[in-house]
């Protein structure tokens, strides 16, 4: 094995560029003759647009063009599409129009209704302030409760009662029957708090139109440029794909928020055609708060039925999910197919029913955010399991053991559609408990009590469905696209390699991980490998990066392409060594003829492929460049156990995480250091949700947490150092045996933290506290 191959903690190849300021992000791109766009956005949560007068603004210095919702409507172009259809009990979901520029009504603070294009950003901003919009403010429904209450203000005329869909999974009568025989029923009410994504790099775009070639180019902060090209070209602007190039260069974090096709991308591209000059737009942070799709925002009531031994008999989950003002690209599937299907957790619960009402509100659209549905499912399952354990006086770890899907039960068909591929839940539980010194907790609690502190410990045995996604499965569930991946391995004449991938790296370290796989397979030096992503003119196709899919799906496409390269290279080697193809073996970059001392290096084979003298052209094409499309056979199912221990200061309500241990099964690991980094970041994000981050809207639909003065992002001193480890059961259905690791921390951590907080507060009679468990909330609960 080469030193930088599979399993090595190789330092990230891309980091030199990033930490020396050489990264090239969208806002770093400047095109000749570039103009700047500023959007005119609604200050109201809900209003009728009575008039838009651009005359004063158009006369201001430097203004090139002002375009309004009426201009867009006049061009007869499309609205922003939704990529997933959910069919509820009463038929397909309500899918109201989503104009990229509002013409008649604005439906959330930040909703855009005009764009000003000027020679400088400052001139564009001045002119945008001079666009005179006459609003007729309307009453707003800013929360799930408000939107579902009788007589609530309507977000869309098409959606009576603000209901997008009322969907269910499972047979409710069947589950009710299971409850009828229960020894104990545990009930919890939960709020999965709304989050603002806050990638370090705000969204940005540069669009240009070449009048000579009639080609449009859009540089954008995207996790999936091909998907943007498809959605924007085919559904919104009706531009042919061969004349539309979408580039997602270096992107500074996404967490899901940069999956979606946003209005600004379409409007800039459309406007670039009109002004025939490049246009740049970069969101300001305050703008990001009111335009980037938010995450989570569920309200749930769940009930778990258990027998006298603590075996789970049935689970009922009733959830209301906030869609925001419009359906973002993936929004409808998040609280359904990425949520209800995970409610079996790691357990053999035989009967499960889940009902989900998706609700429109006068707030920013809500869509996938790191974990997307799976953190919400894990929070429900792990909170109710832990609560049941305490109610029944059974140790929470023991209750889980009694209900785990056993290691010999795979593949395991859950009652909620999925088939788990592999896992060792007792193994990850045992490892996490050992690392957390679970058995020593009682002594630590006693010691903490002596210091006046309340100490608690909580578990979260999570599972996620990753490697998104088997096309046939998601297609049957309403996805409007397959979710395979594409990879092209181009071997150059001297043996160096460029890998073109349809996945996209915005912090994940693909340039290193994929290079390690290639180094391992072809025996080349890792520095002889370049990974290219994010440009529709270079990569045949791709679905991008989200859902912990890049290695499991994109890496599998790479593996298949490498198989093809190896097959062809063996034929060339057989020719060079005048041997039978069947006798050629390949290892460590050398082709050998079995049973002889003949060998030829990979580089010589590559050169021969491109300099085909004395080459059987009739039988073998020149070149060594292979493409593979890989469509997974199933989801992958990373799982594990996280254990959190907290101390609470009852005088202030402050919660301190004093210990956090995680044991994760991600299948085979390519780069342990990168995996560890992903887990650390995910846990911090999960801690953020549990203790710090709470997006608050006022009843009037104004965002009360619109800046870092009020919205608490986790900082280094909010968390301790974590103890993380991996235990591997390889994925049995993809060539790398990989499951994915990008979301696990954010999925597992909130339940672990909140179970620990509840455990600590239980001795003081507190039974419910919602996320984020801020000091004020904890103090309030203690003094209620």
């Amino acid at each position: 094995m080469p030193k930088d191959g599979i399993g090595a903690s190789v330092k990230r190849k891309e980091d030199y560029r990033f930490i020396t300021g050489q990264g090239a992000y969208t806002d770093d791109i400047d095109r000749p003759g570039q103009t700047y766009a500023v959007f005119v956005r609604s200050p109201h949560a809900h209003a009728r647009i009575a008039s838009v007068d651009t005359s004063a603004a158009a006369a201001m210095p430097g203004v090139v063009k002002i375009l309004t919702g009426a201009d867009y409507a006049a061009d007869g172009l499309g609205g922003l599409p939704c990529g997933w259809q959910v069919t509820g009990k009463d038929g397909p979901m309500v899918e109201p129009p989503h104009p990229p520029l509002a013409a008649d009504r604005v439906r959330h603070v930040g909703d855009q209704l005009a764009v000003v294009i000027a020679n400088s950003a400052a001139e564009a901003r001045d002119a945008a302030e001079a666009v005179a919009v006459e609003y007729e403010p309307l009453a707003a429904a800013a929360s799930i409760d408000a939107a579902l209450s009788p007589g609530a203000p309507q977000v869309h005329d098409e959606a009576p009662g603000n209901l997008c869909y009322d969907w269910e999974l499972g047979d409710k009568a069947d589950v009710d029957a299971a409850f009828a025989g229960a020894h104990h029923v545990t009930r919890v009410e939960l709020v999965n708090n709304r989050l603002v994504p806050n990638a370090m790099e705000p969204r940005a775009a540069v669009a240009e139109y070449d009048r000579a070639t009639r080609e449009y180019t859009l540089y954008t902060t995207s996790q999936n440029p091909h998907v943007i090209r498809l959605l924007m070209g085919a559904f919104v602007l009706q531009l042919p794909e061969h004349r539309l190039r979408v580039v997602a260069p270096d992107v500074g974090g996404g967490f899901g928020s940069k999956i979606f096709h946003y209005a600004e991308e379409a409007i800039l591209t459309w406007a670039a055609g009109k002004v025939a000059r490049p246009i740049k737009w970069t969101a300001e942070r305050a703008e990001s708060f009111v335009t980037d799709a938010h995450g989570r925002d569920h309200v749930t009531v769940a009930e778990l039925a258990l027998d006298a031994d603590g075996k789970f008999l049935g689970l009922k989950v009733d959830t209301r999910a906030n869609m925001g003002a419009y359906l973002s690209t993936f929004a409808p599937c998040v609280p359904t197919y990425l949520y209800a299907t995970l409610l079996a957790g790691q357990y053999t619960t035989p009967k499960i029913w889940c009902g989900v009402q998706a609700v429109f509100t006068h707030t920013v659209p809500v869509d996938a955010y790191r974990g997307a549905g799976r953190p919400e499912a894990t929070f429900v399952v792990e909170r109710i399991v832990e609560t049941a354990a305490h109610e029944m006086g059974i140790d929470p770890a023991e209750l889980r053991r009694r209900n785990f899907v056993p290691p010999d039960a795979f593949p395991y068909q859950t009652p909620v559609a999925l088939v788990y591929d592999s896992g060792d839940y007792e193994g990850t539980l045992a490892a996490a408990l050992a690392d957390a010194d679970y058995n020593g907790f009682a002594a630590r609690r006693t010691e903490a009590e002596a210091r006046g502190k309340l100490r608690g410990i909580g578990l979260s045995a999570y599972i996620e469905a990753c490697g998104i996604a088997p096309s046939a499965v998601v297609g049957s569930l309403g996805a409007r696209a397959g979710l395979y991946e594409c990879g092209e391995v181009r071997v150059h004449p001297t043996g160096s390699v460029t890998f073109f991938t349809g996945t996209h790296s915005h912090g994940q370290g693909h340039e290193t991980t994929f290079a390690q796989i290639i180094a391992e397979r072809l025996g080349v030096d890792i520095d002889a490998v370049e990974v290219v992503h994010g440009d529709t003119s270079k990569i045949p196709f791709g679905m991008g990066t989200y859902g912990s899919r890049s290695l499991a799906v994109g890496g599998s496409a790479l593996s298949r392409a490498l198989d093809k390269v190896e097959t062809k290279a063996k034929r060339i080697a057989a020719h060079l060594m005048e041997a039978s193809e069947a006798d050629i073996e390949f290892a460590d970059g050398q082709f050998t003829v079995a049973g002889t001392d003949k060998s030829v290096g990979f580089g010589d084979v590559a050169l021969t492929a491109y300099v085909p003298h004395n080459y059987p052209i009739e039988e073998l094409e020149p070149g060594l460049d292979e493409t593979a499309y890989y469509d997974p056979a199933n989801f992958t199912f990373p799982a594990g156990c996280h254990v959190c221990e907290v101390e609470i200061d009852p005088d202030t309500g402050a919660v301190e995480i004093v210990n956090f241990a995680a044991s994760d099964d991600f299948g085979n690991v390519i780069n342990p250091m990168i995996v560890e980094g992903q887990v650390h970041g995910g846990i911090v994000q999960g801690v953020g949700q549990a203790l710090l981050e709470g997006c608050v809207y006022g009843d009037d639909g104004q965002l009360a947490t619109g800046s870092y003065m009020d919205y608490t992002m986790p900082r280094a001193d909010d968390v301790p150092s974590f103890t993380v480890s991996t235990r591997t059961t390889p994925c049995p259905h993809n060539p790398l045996g990989a499951k994915g690791c990008g979301e696990a921390g954010a999925i597992a951590a909130p339940a672990a933290v909140m179970n620990a907080v509840h455990h600590a507060l239980a001795s003081r009679g507190v039974s419910r506290i919602d996320m984020p468990a801020t000091p004020a909330r904890v103090w309030q609960a203690l003094n209620a």
Partner: protein, 264 residues
């Protein structure tokens, strides 16, 4: 940011002349509040008079049992001054816990107190220590300087030149930070001085104020036990999405006890 005319003042007198000469001129010290306000287009001054180059406003002097901090001295300089640490360690501690490293290396004491943010840390130190604010026109006792939310006793165009802190017998500052902004939700500065015990509270109300009942309790018995069970009155305390008035009132008691305990 809207356009404005930028002036670099060369001296206090120059700054005073320039700020008087502008139609709607503002002084800029460290710019930690002014610049974000300008960037968000929430203010539109005609002129910005920058004090950064006024050397006479910088520096720390310790003599005769008092610490004098020039108005343009950044927080980091106060936090890391061995002379301040020796004379009034609590003052260095306050400065070292303002904002983040970027703020501490740009923000100044003069800028902070002239802005008088109700959740800023320095006002508690000034009131808690019974400091004196020196301006280009007069001297103002800290007790008289902070007059309301974002309001001070400064007259139009009056420039803070320094703050003089008398060294106390003992003092300490404890704050409970807002988790997001890390301004004080409640910060309490307690000092035992030659003139008596002072308990100054920031963050809780619209303006820094003294908890006189706590001061009285501590006069006879300077110990945390003397404050047992005491809270502030929740009347007129701030209430926002981060903390209720009742919570703030409670925290005043907790932080005061911790500050007394920290006095040693």
């Amino acid at each position: 940011m809207h356009d404005f005319t930028y002036h670099a003042a060369g001296s206090v007198a120059d700054a005073a002349a320039k700020v008087a000469g502008g139609e709607d001129a503002v002084l800029m010290a460290g710019g930690m509040t002014l610049l974000p306000t300008l960037k968000q287009r929430l203010a539109q001054p005609s002129d910005v008079v920058d004090l950064a180059a006024v050397a006479e406003l910088r520096g720390i002097q310790v003599s005769g049992g008092a610490v004098t901090v020039g108005a343009m001295t950044v927080h980091d300089a106060v936090a890391n001054s061995s002379e301040v640490a020796a004379a009034i360690p609590a003052l260095a501690d306050v400065a070292g816990h303002i904002g983040d490293p970027q703020v501490r290396n740009r923000g100044t004491i003069g800028g902070s107190i002239a802005n008088n943010d109700p959740a800023a840390d320095y006002p508690a130190a000034l009131v808690g220590l019974g400091a004196t604010v020196c301006t280009d026109r007069r001297e103002i006792a800290a007790d008289d300087f902070f007059t309301g939310m974002f309001e001070t006793a400064l007259d139009e165009g009056e420039i803070v030149t320094a703050v003089r802190f008398p060294a106390p017998e003992t003092a300490a500052y404890v704050k409970f930070p807002n988790p997001a902004s890390r301004y004080a939700i409640v910060g309490v500065f307690v000092a035992r001085t030659a003139g008596g015990v002072r308990v100054a509270v920031t963050g809780a109300a619209g303006c820094v104020y003294r908890e006189t009942a706590m001061e009285a309790a501590l006069e006879g018995n300077f110990s945390a036990a003397a404050l047992e069970g005491m809270t502030a009155s929740a009347d007129d305390l701030n209430e926002d999405i981060h903390a209720s008035a009742e919570y703030r009132a409670h925290l005043v008691g907790v932080m005061a006890r911790r500050a007394v305990a920290a006095c040693g």
